[in-house]
């Protein structure tokens, strides 16, 4: 067969979202790829400029729909830095709990999607089933399954409901043996190793050249986790290890994500214990008037500029489930942020697609792209 271009996407079972992977193939070999993004570009950065600082949070949940709370956390840290607000300690612990549960939820979603890519049918449902238990926890304190709107500038919306921590421990106890089951279904099978070993190799130096972060970078043996390297929130208070693997291939990425979930469980046990022992306020005491939700915005522009709230630029960078996300919030003293810029880890991971796809087979594309864990929402924003 001669060379031809095929379009994998935008509607294709491999993409898990809305993007187009143009592939030039010769027989079954991939010669060149060209990802085409933007099918889910919703102008979130532009809409944010027309919204209040707190109202941007509703967009953050939808930016990355599998890791909404992590993106809320990202934005909130940047906005608080731009506005010079310090959240109370309990709120920080709650945010850490959110992010770690979200990491488990996101990785379970990744697991479900990834095993479907290599043709495993039932683990998809196991992953979704266990993710639903995590979402139940979210629902019990934020009030929604996926779009939480839980964090606020200066704290979080509400404290935990009674009985939450016991339920959380029960779910964690349920999850740990499940991880073993997942490993049995994947690592225990010879076909999985045949399918995924030495596939989609992206070496550490290539990762850094192309700005690849997160589990993909750690699978290449680079021990870099922002929670450890530059602890934000209160991550320096908790005890955990960074998951690293050798091989830089699909199996290594699987191993890293699985280990990250185990480490998240470990962090969560500590955080939940702390939350049990230390009740307290969850909202900072000094929040600008127009910050909290129960206030009317004032129609006339210019009024707030008279008040001269401190101007500033906030930069935050967190270890999102997919990698390093960054936010850059410019506060010009108005009620709306002047400019919000996000750095999506998936955006960078996808931009290196040519490096880790060329030379493999067409049938290898789904496992490799599955191991990258594409979330188009945050990539296109």
């Amino acid at each position: 067969m001669s060379e031809m271009w095929i379009n994998m996407g935008p509607q294709h079972p491999m993409t898990h979202g809305l993007w187009n992977l143009r592939v030039r193939i010769d027989g079954e070999t991939v010669l060149d790829v060209d990802p085409e993004m933007g099918y889910l570009h919703r102008g979130i950065e532009k809409i944010s400029e027309d919204r209040h600082y707190n109202e941007v949070i509703t967009l953050m949940d939808r930016t990355c729909y599998v890791a909404g709370l992590a993106w809320e956390h990202l934005y909130i840290i940047a906005a608080e830095k731009a506005l010079r607000i310090q959240p109370p300690e309990r709120a920080d612990y709650l945010r850490m709990m959110c992010e770690e549960f979200q990491r488990i939820g996101s990785h379970l979603m990744w697991y479900a999607a990834f095993v479907q890519d290599i043709g495993l049918m039932s683990p998809f449902l196991y992953g979704m089933r266990d993710r639903d238990l995590v979402l139940d926890l979210f629902q019990s304190y934020t009030g929604a399954r996926m779009t939480y709107e839980y964090m606020r500038v200066g704290g979080v919306r509400n404290d935990l409901p009674p009985g939450f921590t016991d339920q959380a421990r029960k779910v964690l106890d349920w999850l740990v043996p499940r991880f073993k089951e997942y490993d049995q279904l994947c690592l225990g099978s010879d076909i999985f190793h045949k399918r995924c070993d030495h596939l989609g190799v992206l070496s550490a130096s290539d990762c850094i050249r192309h700005g690849v972060t997160g589990p993909m970078l750690r699978s290449a043996g680079v021990k870099r986790d922002l929670r450890k390297n530059r602890p934000y929130s209160l991550y320096k208070e908790v005890d955990f290890d960074v998951a690293v693997a050798d091989g830089a291939d699909v199996t290594a990425r699987y191993l890293v994500r699985m280990e990250e979930m185990r480490q998240s469980v470990r962090i969560l046990r500590q955080v939940v214990d702390w939350l049990d022992a230390h009740p307290g306020p969850v909202m900072a005491e000094t929040v600008p008037r127009w910050m909290g939700a129960p206030y009317a915005p004032v129609g006339r522009e210019g009024y707030l500029l008279k008040r001269q709230y401190p101007k500033g630029v906030g930069f935050s960078s967190i270890e999102e489930p997919h990698g390093e996300a960054q936010a850059y919030v410019v506060n010009e003293g108005g009620e709306h942020p002047y400019r919000v810029k996000f750095r999506s880890p998936v955006f960078a991971n996808l931009s290196a697609a040519r490096t880790y796809l060329v030379g493999y087979h067409v049938a290898d594309i789904p496992p490799i792209m599955g191991s990258v864990d594409v979330c188009v929402g945050e990539c296109d924003r």
């Binding site: 809305l18 933007g38 889910l40 919703r42 809409i47 449902l125 979704m128 639903d132 779009t147």
Partner: protein, 180 residues
């Protein structure tokens, strides 16, 4: 008996072969118009059509995750015979689950046109219904009903999987009440 009066049976016999087929067609159409579709067969096909809706498997945005959760172990939409297929040729239900951008709009229309008749569309979530929180954005179609005809809207941001199932059941009810 108007149909038969127009093209009597004897006359059809008398017609030449070249004219036979259009005349027979006309007679048949008239017959169906008079008596309606076969009374026994229509309910069967209606029952079959509403109990086996194959949705198109394409994830747009947040709602796609809830869509997937609806096919997960907990809600299991397959109970109602709803099995997602990847190829539009084998689908009869397009669940638009997420924000439709102008960049993907023509592809959505193409997919809709690739689906064989009879086909239905569910707009799941607020983005598909009316653009949702992104409707002011420059790149977003304010509602998928501007592109393809929508049968059922499911509100929610995103709708729970139960709400999605409720929407599918509502569509089944609509098909049951449908008049041809």
């Amino acid at each position: 008996m108007a149909g038969r009066a127009a093209v009597p049976f004897v006359e059809i016999e008398a017609l030449r072969v070249k004219e036979f087929i259009p005349a027979a067609k006309e007679a048949l159409t008239a017959l169906i118009a008079e008596q309606g579709q076969a009374r026994l067969i229509r309910p069967v096909f209606n029952w079959a059509g509403r109990n086996s809706l194959f949705p198109l498997h394409w994830g747009l945005a947040c709602c796609a995750i809830e869509f997937a959760a609806g096919f997960g172990a907990r809600w299991d939409a397959e109970r109602f015979g709803v099995v997602p297929r990847s190829s539009p040729r084998q689908c009869d239900l397009m669940i638009v689950n997420g924000t439709v951008t102008w960049k993907v709009a023509h592809k959505l229309i193409t997919l809709y046109e690739q689906m064989p008749e009879p086909k239905w569309v569910i707009a799941m979530g607020n983005c598909a219904t009316g653009g949702g929180p992104f409707r002011t954005a420059y790149s977003v179609v304010p509602g998928v009903d501007k592109l393809v005809p929508v049968d059922v809207y499911i509100a929610g941001c995103p709708p729970r999987p139960e709400a999605m199932l409720d929407g599918i059941l509502r569509l089944e009810q609509l098909i049951r009440e449908r008049k041809e």
